[in-house]
């Protein structure tokens, strides 16, 4: 156990985490440089590579002969790189004894890094700070400031900070040496009953669920009967091993080590991240702390754009959930959109990823509704319940209170954009809690914000008002009562349920007006005039209309060229097919997301 080191890498997007990981693998001979053809072996999902973020976790075991002449086993445990996945981060941190803190020498520390770093410090991890990208010319001028930031942040001395260029392969060996010397070996009792942590799991079509686990006490062996605490399921272990570039079967995994297990587990839902695995016959006395059931924070209706594809969509979602147990989906129906599903996501990024996967991997043509949070409704008869679709809100007269989730947002920004950031947060009903200067130019701002105001375009806005420099992290704090109302959209007098939103009363008039004019832009002229109204209850707060189309006819149909005419019509028909028909009105799919493209400021 003394020659095992378990560590992870904490870094902001683009600060070079994946590149550094690639270099470590190369240096320890886990991959030859010849195999490094696709850059960034860890992020192997095309979506991950495109967006430069890690969604699924990976762990890789390396062997390293240190300068002290001893052989070490280094387990690199990957962490996801987005605020939507902070619980997953906390669980992979729990599997480690140390962390490399990677900071871009030209950019400095970002919010995501800080929140993950605090989590790592809270879990008593040994932090090794590393400045990356020191080869960049601009690093010469920024390096000292960044160093100071790191010192202020973790209270280390300047000599503790390593420097490297993952891209150029500079300083990689020093990092490996420091991992061996500074990160403590795992503690644990190999003779005690089995106690292991699930920090991730993936679904394999042939083998079922593959659980990634860290063993704290005891030994995990093939043919053992094991028991999962949270799900209360037991299984017989079929295969145990460690992760090299592929699975490497070892037959057992003992205290301190990291690896995988396969046990004919059918559903990903049966392996909850953070759950404890123990031996069925000799269970440990208590599970590992910190287990939580992950709850979706953001909801959106997903409908097939052609009603006939409902079953296809159901199957696709079912398959998707095999790989991503964080998604929830339940059938719902909308008078406007027909039959579809109300889906829950960890956050907006997660939602976007799922929508993209549905369209790309499963070839589904979908209409999705504006994302919303889960509201808590307290009725006048004291009945309490949650709704995750604005259309489910009862009549106003029956509602005593509506509560919405609030988050604590941590924003780190260069101080020249502080004013912009403050304004944005206050516009979004934020309450300023704290500001701390991390250095002369960098401020850490803490706001409490309604999650609903963050799920729209907050992140993009934050980026644009700070020229991309501000970074954001957030966590849920509590439900709070607010003056919320349901804003309905009526087309030709009929409420379109899929366009209803819940907004703050003081913003409703402005919101209604903007939404109406956005819809006017998006709904094409058609045979009949379309009256667009925004209403709260029976009170119309804004109206506009789309004038009737007066001409759509191709004059020429002569000389007998009917084929061309038919093809032109076919083309127009395809365009129409992408629209949802509600009564007499045809509505383009984008209209259902109109709220998202409204300029909030």
């Amino acid at each position: 156990m003394n020659n095992i080191r378990n560590f992870c890498i904490i870094a902001h997007i683009d600060h070079g985490k994946s590149t550094l990981a690639d270099r470590l693998l190369e240096k320890t001979g886990r991959v030859s440089s010849r195999e490094m053809t696709t850059n960034q072996i860890l992020d192997n999902n095309p979506l991950e590579q495109e967006r430069g973020i890690t969604i699924k976790l990976h762990a890789i075991q390396m062997e390293y002969k240190a300068k002290d002449g001893k052989d070490y086993i280094l387990n690199l445990i990957d962490t996801p790189g987005h605020v939507d996945f902070s619980y997953e981060v906390s669980r992979s941190l729990a599997a480690c004894e140390g962390a490399l803190l990677i900071v871009d020498a030209t950019q400095g520390v970002e919010a995501q890094t800080i929140s993950n770093l605090y989590m790592a410090i809270d879990s008593d991890l040994e932090i090794i700070p590393v400045m990356n990208k020191i080869d960049l010319p601009s690093a010469a001028t920024t390096m000292d400031t960044v160093k100071q930031q790191i010192i202020d942040l973790i209270g280390c001395s300047e000599t503790d900070i390593l420097s490297c260029s993952a891209k150029q392969g500079i300083g990689i060996e020093e990092i490996l040496e420091e991992i061996v010397h500074r990160i403590p070996p795992p503690k644990g009792d190999p003779n005690a009953p089995l106690r292991a942590l699930i920090y991730d799991s993936v679904f394999d079509t042939y083998r079922g669920v593959i659980v990634n686990t860290r063993v704290f006490d005891g030994v995990l062996k093939e043919k053992d009967k094991i028991y999962f605490y949270a799900t209360q399921q037991s299984y017989e272990v079929e295969e145990v091993g460690t992760m090299h570039m592929k699975r490497f079967r070892t037959g057992e995994l003992s205290a301190g080590n990291v690896g995988y297990l396969i046990a004919s587990i059918r559903n990903l839902q049966d392996t909850k991240v953070g759950d404890t695995i123990t031996n069925f016959n000799h269970p440990c006395d208590k599970p590992i702390e910190g287990f939580r059931i992950v709850k979706p924070m953001v909801f959106s209706g997903i409908y097939p754009s052609d009603a006939a594809d409902f079953e296809d969509l159901r199957e696709s979602l079912a398959k998707l959930v095999l790989n991503d147990s964080a998604i929830t989906y339940e059938p719902e129906s909308s008078s406007a959109l027909g039959f579809g599903f109300r889906c829950g996501f960890l956050g907006l990024l997660h939602l976007e990823i799922v929508q993209e996967r549905l369209e790309r991997e499963f070839d589904q043509n979908i209409v999705s509704t504006v994302p919303n949070v889960r509201y808590k409704v307290i009725k006048t008869n004291s009945e309490e319940f949650f709704i995750d679709n604005p259309a489910q809100l009862p009549d106003r007269g029956n509602i005593a209170e509506i509560q919405e989730p609030f988050i604590r947002a941590q924003i780190i920004t260069p101080d020249e954009y502080l004013g912009n950031v403050m304004k944005l947060c206050i516009d979004r009903r934020g309450i300023l809690k704290n500001t701390t200067y991390l250095s002369a130019e960098r401020v850490d701002v803490e706001f409490e914000l309604p999650l609903s105001e963050v799920v729209f375009d907050f992140f993009d806005k934050l980026k644009s008002i700070s020229r991309g420099y501000a970074s954001l992290d957030y966590e849920f704090i509590e439900y709070r009562t607010e003056d919320l109302v349901k804003l309905d959209i009526l087309l030709n007098g009929e409420t379109v349920d899929a366009l209803s939103t819940i907004v703050h009363n003081k913003k409703s008039a402005d919101w209604g007006r903007k939404l109406c004019s956005k819809l006017k832009e998006l709904i094409p002229r058609q045979m009949f005039e379309v009256a667009i109204q925004a209403a709260i209850g029976s009170k119309v707060i804004s109206r506009t209309n789309v004038q009737a189309l007066r001409k759509n006819v191709i004059a020429k149909c002569y000389g007998g060229d009917i084929t061309r005419k038919r093809k032109l019509l076919e083309k127009q028909k395809e365009g129409k097919k992408r629209m949802k028909q509600i009564g007499k009105i045809e509505i383009p799919q984008e209209a259902f997301l109109a709220v998202l493209s409204i300029d909030n400021n």
């Binding site: 759509n552 006819v553 004059a555 000389g559 007998g560 084929t563 127009q572 028909q581």
Partner: protein
């Protein structure tokens, strides 16, 4: 159902800058072209495919067919009459450009049994003719009409164009008033369209001209329909108006599912559930015929769905969809199945429905494509495969 013959004459003295029909300006090739056209007629005759058809219309279109002499027209008509079953009293039309006809030529056409002229007037305003780069002016157009009438052509049609940039209501009314001075049996009033690969389109792309808005075009169109109806020209298709019983029988074939056989480059045919098109290049046309190959560039068999879609948009753009005929052919009771849509279209003033027919109103013609698409989409939503199995 009686069939039609179409002959495409791909020559123009000068190509108009808005036109995308196939034609070339090298008129020296006309004689050679007639030789090849006769070759194509013989080829189609010896294939024997059309021996069961009876024809009652012949249409010379272009291009500018009136560049051909009476003799050349006769050279073409002779083998047609000899080899195809063409009824006595058939409608035989030739399109004419006002600048290309004189008394002698018209006499010769008459002798060659042509009994209907379609004269490409386009406008009675010189400024508009100029814009359209026509080779004639308004006076020449009027002269040609007088000439045609004096020569004894009783079935006379003119083509007019609307929706020219900056065109106003009074411009339209001016041309119409001029037209009413002549004993016309038929008027085609086309909407100017911006066809890709025409110089007009280029000008549009380069911002040199500003097209009318859809709303402006629509008001012009509606006032044209109204004005023509007042003068006894009844609308029987999106762009076509005629005195009672004087519709262009040949053009009607395109919209009523009748067969037609086309000769000459770029000519279209519809026969035995298949549509085809000849090559639209004169030299390739020559070449293929010399090699005894069919001068086709394209042909397609129509599926059930294609036929149904065509039947809807062709009948609605013309004299209306005949309910019984449609039900028989497609096993679909459109009046019952689409009652909600048809009712709302009727209430909206786009359609009129009587016991036998669904027909567009003037307002409906202006939205013809939109309405057809809605109907087609609704039928498809009713699951056409299911209907087909019945």
């Amino acid at each position: 159902m009686t069939a039609g013959l179409y002959i495409h004459i791909p020559f123009c003295q000068r190509k108009c800058f808005y036109c995308d029909f196939y034609s070339i300006e090298n008129t020296e090739l006309i004689n050679q072209f007639v030789d090849y056209l006769i070759l194509e007629i013989q080829q189609k005759v010896s294939a024997g495919k059309y021996s069961d058809l009876t024809f009652d219309t012949i249409f010379f279109g272009g291009g500018t067919p009136s560049l051909l002499s009476g003799t050349q027209i006769s050279r073409i008509l002779d083998p047609l009459h000899k080899n195809f079953k063409i009824l006595d009293g058939s409608e035989i039309t030739i399109e004419c450009n006002p600048r290309t006809i004189d008394k002698e030529k018209l006499k010769a056409y008459q002798k060659a049994s042509i009994n209907r002229l379609s004269i490409g007037v386009q406008s009675f305003l010189d400024s508009e003719l100029n814009f359209l780069s026509r080779i004639h002016n308004a006076n020449q157009a009027k002269e040609s009409l007088n000439l045609a009438f004096e020569s004894g052509f009783e079935n006379l049609s003119i083509d007019l164009l609307f929706a020219l940039p900056k065109q106003r209501q009074e411009d339209i009314l001016f041309s119409l008033e001029e037209a009413y001075n002549f004993p016309l049996s038929h008027i085609s009033y086309y909407n100017l369209t911006y066809e890709e690969e025409t110089p007009l389109y280029q000008d549009l792309e380069n911002g040199k001209i500003e097209p009318l808005s859809d709303d402006e075009e629509s008001s012009l169109y509606l006032s044209i329909i109204k004005n023509l109806e007042q003068q006894g020209f009844k609308q029987y298709e999106v762009s076509n108006f005629s005195k009672p019983n004087l519709q262009c029988k040949h053009n009607l074939k395109y919209w009523t599912d009748a067969p037609y056989i086309g000769f000459g480059p770029s000519a279209h045919s519809y026969f035995d559930n298949s549509r085809s098109k000849n090559v639209d290049d004169l030299l390739i046309y020559f070449n293929l015929l010399s090699k005894k190959e069919e001068p086709l560039i394209f042909s397609e068999e129509l599926s059930f769905k294609d036929r149904m879609m065509e039947s809807i948009f062709l009948s609605l753009r013309a004299d209306g969809l005949v309910l019984e005929q449609f039900a028989k052919e497609f096993f679909f009771d459109i009046l019952f199945e689409l009652r909600d849509l048809l009712l709302s279209l009727t209430l909206g003033g786009f359609l009129s429905i009587d016991k036998t027919k669904i027909k567009l109103t003037a307002k409906g013609y202006s939205l013809c494509d939109e309405i057809c698409l809605r109907i087609i989409k609704d039928i498809e939503n009713k699951d056409i495969e299911k209907i087909m199995r019945i």
